[in-house]
């Protein structure tokens, strides 16, 4: 079902958790709410579920206002970070709960419930665990039970609150792919809250980046990664080198000043910041362009598919992170302590409304 969030504001005491948030989610979409902890993403999810009430603004599900509707009437499935399974019930009873609490007139027969539970456990690959208690399952299995339990009531909307946050890296990755496949099969409109940018970029059709109660950018994973709308989005999605001042590819370094260029031409006197991704920095062992930055290699980590370097330069404060392909690294034959020349292939300049970041 489609979701419309209309000018929603939520405060806890003096703290504004959500500041006039607007969002539209299309039917059948898998959308990730991405942001650091405290950005309001979980609160927005809880408001959609009806677990919290907005102070201002309205929520529409399928074009119908539900702001004042009770949780149980919204037909929303909610998956919690810490599973929230009923520990005194077996896996099968957990999954059947939503069906067993239906009013007698709507409740399926117990044989039908059993059948449905069996099917759902098949969907999450846990048929063999039906008679176990949650404490006898691993974290990943518990979360799959929680998901089957949420799906049992045939929700029109599936809300997942950091569903893989408490799991280890390998299991997260598996479950993330599995969730995406599951979504492709079921087509339930789903919202996934996460602080893990990799998770959001990999699992979701669209990513909503949130920061301090505001939505910074909405777009496909590709859009938000390649064309970040704000400095925050740029920084939050992937590693980044920050250079204070206006730069361009041919004017990365002001030769005369011997330091990164500041543009004084800006009429509004905003400070400007240049962002360069580590893999957008090109290295050479000799100076080929006059504006290259001279730096010393401080640290090399060649483990993994890509080689990560840390450089130090007299001309720019702070360490500069560089990511090279294995081939390029072998070509350059760089070692710790070597002097290299740095040049950006691609960069982003943002005006900063306030000093610092």
């Amino acid at each position: 079902m489609s979701i419309q969030v209309d000018h929603v504001t939520k405060r806890f005491g003096a703290f504004t958790v959500l500041n006039d948030v607007n969002l539209h989610v299309r039917e059948g979409e898998l959308v990730a709410l991405l942001g650091p902890s405290g950005c309001g993403k979980t609160t927005l999810l809880r408001i959609l579920a009806g677990l919290e009430r907005p102070d201002q603004g309205r929520i529409f599900l399928q074009g119908k206002e539900v702001t004042d509707q009770r949780i149980s009437e919204r037909r929303v499935g909610f998956v919690f970070q810490h599973y929230a399974l009923f520990r005194h019930m077996t896996v099968a009873d957990n999954v059947a709960f939503g069906l067993n609490v239906l009013p007698r007139a709507q409740r399926p027969s117990s044989a039908r419930i059993q059948e449905k539970v069996h099917d759902l456990l098949g969907l999450v690959h846990l048929q063999a665990m039906a008679d176990r208690y949650p404490s006898q399952l691993s974290g990943g299995q518990r979360q799959r039970v929680a998901l089957a339990r949420a799906l049992a009531v045939e929700p029109k909307l599936l809300l997942l609150d950091e569903p893989f946050g408490a799991l280890d890296a390998k299991v997260r990755k598996e479950l993330r792919r599995w969730l995406r496949r599951l979504h492709d099969d079921l087509h339930i409109t789903s919202i996934l809250v996460t602080h893990d940018q990799e998770e959001a970029l990999e699992a979701a059709h669209r990513v909503v980046v949130m920061h301090q109660g505001n939505i910074e950018q909405v777009g496909t994973p590709d859009e938000v990664y390649e064309h970040p709308a704000t400095p925050f989005v740029y920084q939050f999605l992937g590693d980044v080198n920050v250079f204070h001042g206006r730069m361009s590819q041919d004017r990365f370094l002001d030769k005369e000043a011997g330091e990164p260029v500041y543009s004084n031409a800006d009429p509004f006197d905003h400070r400007e910041v240049t962002f360069v991704r580590p893999h957008d920095l090109e290295l050479s062992t000799t100076r080929t362009i006059p504006t290259q930055l001279e730096a010393t290699v401080q640290f090399v980590n060649a483990a993994g598919a890509r080689v990560h370097l840390e450089l130090e330069s007299n001309e720019s404060p702070g360490l500069i992170a560089v990511e090279l392909t294995k081939e390029r690294y072998r070509e350059l034959k760089i070692q710790q302590g070597d002097v290299v020349f740095v040049h950006p292939k691609q960069l982003h300049v943002f005006k900063m409304p306030s000093p610092g970041l």
């Binding site: 149980s72 810490h82 609490v101």
Partner: protein, 278 residues
């Protein structure tokens, strides 16, 4: 079958601590209690049986165990509500109420008995309003119930409170999102979590009530066959230098209490064993 008494542990001292436990337990509990049996065994079976089945004694058992059980169950209900309010809501004076719960623990039981009597007597604060309704509390079995409920309250509140505190709020929210109404959430999610602690609290309140003497004798009126509790009967026998008779009733109370405690333990184990074997 191989019985493993000792599992390897980083902390030494299994033998020492077990030995101490047995020694201490014998000194404090087992030896005095066995004295009770030794004294009782000085009588013949007929004498023993006569005392045990004396109608006055039987009436006192009924009152003692009946009122104790009823008081414990009342505490089970209202103690849980108090614990719920104390854990779930923040209101002015909450910590004061929290402290007041312990009062029945700390108050000398005689003081509690006198206070309750003066309040529930036919000219007391509450008694005078109950009198026209035909309800007499002081000097009746109902008074015994009031006193036993009073002293048992902290046991239920204090055992249920920490469990409620640890209760994961998300579990309730999960039940709500799955369509459960408040009653279904309470019954299917909260009660099973509380149940073991609630049973412990009720058992402790019951055990405390069975042994209670001080507060009851003031409010009960102590009429034989009507409002006389077993501990008072024991006391009466002691005052008449009938030691064997007193210990006989003591044995009856001891055995009954032990059986009841055992049954509650089994019930607890049974309700706990169904889940949470983490």
């Amino acid at each position: 079958m191989h019985l493993v008494l000792k599992q390897p542990s980083v902390l030494p001292g299994f033998g020492l601590t077990l030995g101490f436990t047995l020694f201490y337990f014998s000194l404090i509990v087992l030896i005095p209690l066995s004295g009770l049996f030794v004294k009782t065994s000085s009588m013949s079976w007929e004498q023993f049986w006569d005392i045990v089945t004396n109608p006055r004694a039987i009436a006192s058992y009924q009152l003692t165990f009946g009122a104790s059980l009823a008081g414990a169950l009342i505490n089970g209900v209202f103690g849980s509500i108090i614990a719920w309010v104390l854990v779930r809501y923040r209101f002015p004076g909450r910590s004061l109420v929290d402290a007041l719960v312990d009062l029945p623990f700390a108050l000398p039981t005689a003081v509690a008995g006198i206070t309750l009597t003066s309040i529930y007597a036919s000219n007391g604060w509450i008694g005078r309003y109950l009198e026209p309704l035909g309800i007499k509390v002081a000097f009746t079995p109902l008074g015994v119930l009031v006193a036993l409920t009073f002293i048992g309250l902290p046991f239920v509140v204090r055992t249920v409170q920490p469990v409620l505190q640890d209760l994961d709020k998300e579990v309730e929210e999960a039940a709500t999102t799955l369509g459960a109404n408040r009653w279904q959430t309470f019954r299917a999610v909260i009660v099973p979590e509380l149940w073991p602690a609630l049973l412990t609290g009720i058992a402790m309140a019951f055990a405390r009530a069975v042994g209670e003497y001080g507060s009851v004798i003031f409010i009960a009126g102590n009429m034989p066959m009507k409002s006389e509790i077993t501990p008072l009967l024991i006391m009466t026998k002691l005052e008449q230098y009938d030691y064997a008779g007193a210990t006989t009733l003591g044995v009856v109370m001891l055995v009954t209490s032990f059986v009841l405690a055992l049954m509650i333990n089994i019930l607890q184990w049974w309700s706990g064993a169904r889940h949470m074997n983490q």
